[in-house]
Assembly symmetry: C2
Homo-oligomer: 419 residues x 2
């Protein structure tokens, strides 16, 4: 089977000015790797004809497939099609169907200028990718042994066209199926995981494995290439089990995005309800869970008791307790979780109180956080020392991870206090 070398060229001065991040290149790369097409280069270039042409020529020399993102819109900066067509010796011709389609936008009251109609000008003989989320169509053509695809720049349009048109087009070219699974890990770092598997990883080619760090957790990616999806899955299955077993209690899930997603899976199995009482995380734990569709069946509600006054008013915590123990203390974390659980009448409640920085409380260093979980008849409190050099967002994110890890451990029968 042929290995196609692919280059992504993203066109847009806003990328070079740092106004936006090149998420299109990431999205295209991610989806292509899933169908067994290797991306070997990303290039970003501004809205400048000569420089775009130069980049296209370099890509033509080193890649089999060129995928452009951006520069298909109606403004005079949008010149990707012109340059690609010119470089490959093609004319732009009006696509009647896309041209007609543009009138629909005028009918619904959008203002259109002549420029807008330039969007219907496409390279002769190309396959047209209709844009279901915007006005600028994309396209694909083959010329001189090279395959060129053009996708729009707005991330939502790019992703939709990739999924609906570009991947089906490319899938026909690729004989390999690549399948990946991730084993998600919390509580030990990427380097520890690396040490655990160093020997195997060096000896493995297909399937392969590699650990990756995220900000507050990490994952091991296992990948197999085979002639069919099923064959690749078969190669991976024993490996996934082996990795899970060796990582043990720190392996929190397979193919999940984060701890809260895993907790949602586990809550669906039980089912159980939970609630949150947050101080320094300021609503982040509730926000993360409610990002998941289906959250409302398990998450009843939460309180953001950011001030001592709110801790008293919403949770009924005795101001004397706060006075005596400090707002950032195991006693207050415990009270918050227990009272939250009773007030909202849930199976589980988690609470967080701590110092996310930049200011401390004069007693505990920044990065001190107490995370508690209460169930009927029992409460646990983890004492985190996250370090004074950590950012506010890191402290908040890590605190939330610990809260979800406690729920996960409870729901899977593991020791709730991490070693």
């Amino acid at each position: 089977m042929k290995e196609y070398v692919t280059e992504i060229i993203s066109v847009g001065t806003e990328l070079l000015l740092g106004h936006v991040t090149n998420t299109d290149a990431r999205d295209v790369s991610e989806m292509l790797s899933k169908i067994g097409i290797n991306v070997l280069y990303h290039t970003v270039v501004g809205d400048n004809p000569a420089r775009i042409e130069n980049c296209v020529k370099i890509a033509r020399d080193r890649a089999d497939i060129i995928i452009t993102t951006g520069g298909l819109g109606p403004t005079c900066d949008d010149i990707t099609k012109e340059i690609l067509a010119k470089t490959f010796g093609l004319e732009l011709v009006r696509n009647e169907k896309e041209h007609e389609g543009l009138y629909d936008y005028i009918r619904i009251g959008r203002k259109f200028t002549d420029n807008n109609f330039s969007q219907a000008m496409l390279p002769e003989g190309c396959t047209v990718f209709h844009n279901n989320c915007g006005t600028a169509p994309g396209c694909a053509f083959e010329k001189d042994g090279k395959i060129v695809l053009m996708l729009p720049g707005p991330p939502k349009e790019c992703r939709a066209m990739l999924r609906d048109s570009a991947l089906p087009y490319l899938r026909k070219l690729s004989g390999t199926q690549i399948v990946s699974h991730t084993v998600n890990v919390f509580g030990i770092g990427e380097s520890t995981v690396d040490d655990m598997f160093a020997e195997e990883m060096n000896a493995m080619a297909n399937p392969s494995m590699a650990p990756y760090a995220k900000e507050c957790d990490c994952f091991v990616k296992l990948t197999a290439k085979a002639e069919s999806h099923e064959a690749a899955e078969e190669m991976l299955l024993p490996l996934v089990e082996k990795v899970k077993a060796r990582i043990g209690e720190y392996a929190y899930g397979v193919d999940v995005e984060n701890l809260e997603e895993r907790v949602l899976e586990l809550l669906k199995e039980k089912p159980m309800s939970f609630a949150t009482a947050e101080s320094c995380t300021g609503g982040q734990i509730a926000k993360r869970f409610t990002e998941l569709p289906g959250a409302s069946a398990f998450f009843k509600g939460g309180m953001v008791t950011y001030t001592n006054e709110a801790k008293a008013k919403l949770l009924g915590i005795d101001p004397e307790l706060i006075e005596r123990e400090g707002a950032v203390s195991p006693a207050v974390a415990k009270e918050m979780a227990e009272r939250c659980r009773k007030i909202l009448d849930t199976d589980i409640a988690v609470s967080v109180t701590g110092l996310a920085g930049p200011d401390g409380d004069g007693v505990n260093p920044v990065g001190t956080v107490f995370v508690a979980m209460a169930i009927e008849g029992a409460t646990w409190v983890r004492h985190l020392k996250l370090g004074e050099h950590r950012s506010r967002s890191y402290v908040r994110q890590m605190s939330g991870n610990h809260a979800y890890d406690m729920i996960r451990r409870y729901l899977t029968g593991l020791d709730i206090m991490m070693k």
Copy 2:
């Protein structure tokens, strides 16, 4: 003054697999544009010696400054320094100070292998950039009329080294000062702003202006180049005022990141307190505000009343009202805001109830949201129809923006209900 053409080369297979987004290239571009250095190309290449060398040679031909990110760490994949040194005909030599420094990590208990010490090998005669957030130093050298800088890949390390070492190094090269200001806009779109200023924008070169869209708001960026920072500021000042005046009530701030940051500025001026009662936003409004250092002086707390039960238990909302009007209704939004304000005894309270999707409630379409703001003696409710094709995260983000916009309008004496 010389215009340096700059190329950023980011090294890392994880970027080509789409596991991570190339935020380093964005960060470097953004900071460079602020000191008047033009980035004309980004390249991403994997951990492959021949391909890295090829990309470096292309960059050497078309750029004056090459900045690499990534590939400076201790693993065998980290080969950026070797390739750059080789391409420019330099030897790697051991930097004694950095080598010594690595022992400090061992002393605090980190496990180190021989590989770790390769981090102290740097191109002969280079300027060393010490890494204050990690172990791998960066560096800069000049050779054959080209300037090369190497920065580490982890975003936090890259940003810190850029700020502490790379920018001071580059600032000496650039004679131009570029100053930018943004006018932040909520309530009208980028294209409307574009129409407002189309004529001026075409006629302007320095200072220049351009509108940019973000997911749920937009901004106008005004940029001036001059010999000194002061001269550039002087060119911009009248332009900022003119743009603000023409955009009027929709211009919510200058040089702020988002609406909540502007609200924090305004609350500091008054000062006033506020609280939140959130249903479909699930804690996101509280979370956003508490991301800002200093939030605790104004934000007392909030309730995440994700279920009807929580609306009754935490806010005391009559279940009959919910039964009669529906949980997603102006009446419930109003009650939520008013009761929240009373319970937490704040000057202002905002509430949100709506349908973020994917499921509807059988009455209102997905994207229906009611956002309320209560002050003593008055409550306002905005009815949003955000559209059924919008993502859950868009609906939540936009709802939060409306809540902050209502507070902003109240604090600046504008009409709270948007036209």
